[in-house]
């Protein structure tokens, strides 16, 4: 889009505002804004500061069109959503075989913070549970803790097209209270699954979870995956195209904590959620969705975010295994046809 003339770029941003698809998202936002179920995460005080009414929906297409409704500029910490993308970086650093020797890709059905390893291989179950994410963070290359962090931040910048910061109070709180994660790290060290630079790796893990993003960034992250690893707006490559499939597959099977099976069945969009209230969901080849709403359900997934993804999947047939003709044609709604009654 950067190369378009000024008139074309202005008209394209205006048509994104008036497109029937954005109007659909606007109605969806209004429909679920009043939903007051769920509770904001409060295991550290900084997360409890989030306002329950915050609610943003953003969709970015593989062609780089951006549709946003609600609080799409509000920053929050990425939390577990980082795990999918750091997994991608580990794949780039070491290749699939080596990474798989350290972390399995099997869904657990256990809570995200369960202290459980595969009894035969001693591997953590998958990169989306805390144990697996710590083992994955351990794989990130770099000569110093600073260099490793900078590589992670640079990776997120390639995906989203903008620079990211760490929320330091969140990082320090996670670090100060993360005894369970520390215990898991030592257990994995005991089995030789991670290196002995434990403090450095745990710092990196807590830092990656404390990266500040907004709903638009989340949509851009998944749109980049949907677009084969290239950011559809900046055209910068964020991840080697050969690893995109691995990242998306693990999101589909393990991305929504221990609700992943139900999610795959009902929504069928590879996705990753975080306790900050974010969800990023991929429709391969087509688009990325980012939602932000802090109140969470019992399994730790954003209440309104789930509803939004469910409706989008149903109304536009975005479930990856959908074989029926959807109620609405996504391309038609994005382009806006003369015959479409979106009023």
């Amino acid at each position: 889009m950067a190369d378009l003339g000024d008139l074309q770029s202005l008209t394209s941003s205006i048509t994104a505002v008036t497109s029937p698809f954005r109007n659909y998202l606007n109605d969806l936002h209004a429909k679920y804004q009043s939903l007051n179920d769920g509770a904001v995460a409060d295991y550290i005080p900084e997360l409890a500061l989030a306002k329950p009414e915050w609610f943003g929906i953003c969709v970015v297409t593989a062609e780089g069109q951006v549709f946003e409704v609600g609080n799409c500029d509000q920053l929050f910490t990425i939390q577990s959503i980082s795990k999918a993308f750091v997994f991608g970086l580990a794949l780039e650093d070491h290749g699939r075989d080596y990474v798989n020797s350290k972390v399995s890709v099997e869904p657990t059905g256990e809570a995200f913070n369960a202290i459980v390893l595969d009894e035969v291989t001693n591997r953590p179950y998958n990169p989306m549970v805390n144990a697996g994410a710590i083992a994955t963070a351990d794989l990130i290359k770099g000569h110093s803790s600073t260099e490793r962090l900078k590589r992670v931040l640079a990776m997120f910048q390639r995906y989203t097209g903008r620079e990211h910061d760490i929320n330091v109070p969140v990082f320090l709180s996670e670090k100060a209270t993360g005894f369970r994660n520390r215990a898991m790290a030592y257990l994995m060290l005991n089995f030789g699954m991670i290196s002995d630079r434990i403090d450095e790796t745990l710092d990196l893990y807590f830092q990656q979870c404390s990266i500040m993003v907004n709903a638009r960034d989340l949509a851009m992250l998944s749109a980049t995956l949907a677009n084969g690893g290239v950011n559809p707006v900046t055209q910068e490559r964020a991840i080697d195209e050969h690893h995109v499939q691995d990242v998306i597959s693990v999101m589909l099977t393990c991305g929504m904590y221990d609700a992943s099976g139900e999610w795959c069945y009902r929504v069928g969009m590879p996705a990753k959620s975080g306790v900050g209230g974010g969800i990023t969901a991929v429709v391969p080849g087509q688009l990325g969705i980012g939602t932000f709403s802090p109140p969470l359900d019992a399994k730790g997934n954003s209440y309104r975010g789930i509803k939004v993804c469910e409706d989008l999947a149903k109304d536009f047939g975005l479930h990856v295994f959908n074989a029926a003709k959807p109620e609405r044609d996504i391309n038609e709604w994005i382009a806006g046809g003369n015959d479409l009654n979106d009023w």
């Binding site: 008139l7 008209t11 048509t15 008036t18 954005r22 109007n23 806006g336 009023w343």
Partner: protein
């Protein structure tokens, strides 16, 4: 399905607000629920034609754009003001005429997404059949938005060179925005001109339909800016021409 009609002119002084008021009132008088929204935030004025005094305007479009109130609260039922009978309804969403308010919106700008969402919730909330958007002359964010959202774009021009050129520019933009239907209207045509020949020439030049030609009318000038001509003098040839234009957007 509700219809959105944007009335636009490239330059000021074409009689755009007057035209909008008369066309909207004509459609309402045919028994429809009609809304008019004054998006000319830098220089609002159409409220005068609907006999809505600044002191009667509590909440305006400005308050909606600042997130202070729902857009329905800025809508005023002005059916009685202009003497519409029971069958139709006409609502106006005015922009603020307070200097402070105008300065604030020019200085801080506003979210164009909010304007779009406001149009839609106004149509839904008031169950409007037709929404007329009165715009600021020239090209701006709100012009682009109103063109993109419209089912019909009405471009008003006077028969002079500056208007011809500006109209061509606006039409380029409208086509870029994939406008669904475009109509041209010639206003303030001098009585010495052959109106039919003028109409054909403009249609040939732009390749779009001329929906109506309005002569420079002393009758309208005399009544300008107080009340809606078409409602007061329904049998006048000018009112007849407005009904003719209305038929092309219904």
């Amino acid at each position: 399905m509700p219809k959105v009609i944007s009335i636009h002119s490239y330059r000021g002084g074409t009689g755009k607000s007057n035209f909008t008021a008369n066309l909207a009132a004509t459609v309402a008088a045919l028994g429809h629920r009609v809304g008019v929204i004054d998006t000319d935030v830098p220089s609002p004025g159409i409220h005068n034609l609907f006999c809505l005094e600044p002191e009667q305007m509590g909440i305006t479009l400005n308050n909606y754009l600042w997130g202070e109130s729902p857009i329905q609260d800025a809508a005023y039922d002005i059916s009685a003001n202009i003497g519409l009978d029971e069958s139709g309804r006409l609502f106006l969403v005015p922009s603020s005429v307070k200097a402070d308010d105008i300065a604030r919106i020019l200085k801080d700008g506003y979210d164009v997404k909010l304007m779009n969402d406001g149009f839609r919730s106004l149509v839904k909330g008031l169950e409007l059949e037709y929404l007329f958007i009165d715009t600021h002359p020239g090209l701006s964010k709100e012009t682009f938005l109103s063109i993109a959202i419209s089912h019909v774009l009405v471009l008003i021009l006077r028969p002079d060179k500056q208007d011809y050129q500006g109209t061509a520019v606006t039409m380029d933009v409208a086509r870029q925005l994939n406008v669904r239907k475009m109509l041209l209207t010639i206003n303030k045509a001098h009585s010495k001109l052959n109106l039919e020949a003028l109409k054909q020439k403009v249609e040939a030049t732009y390749g779009e339909t001329v929906a109506g030609v309005f002569p420079l009318s002393e009758d309208i000038v005399q009544l300008a800016s107080e009340g809606v001509f078409c409602v007061k003098y329904p049998e006048h040839p000018v009112s007849q021409e407005f009904r003719n234009v209305a038929q092309q957007i219904l």
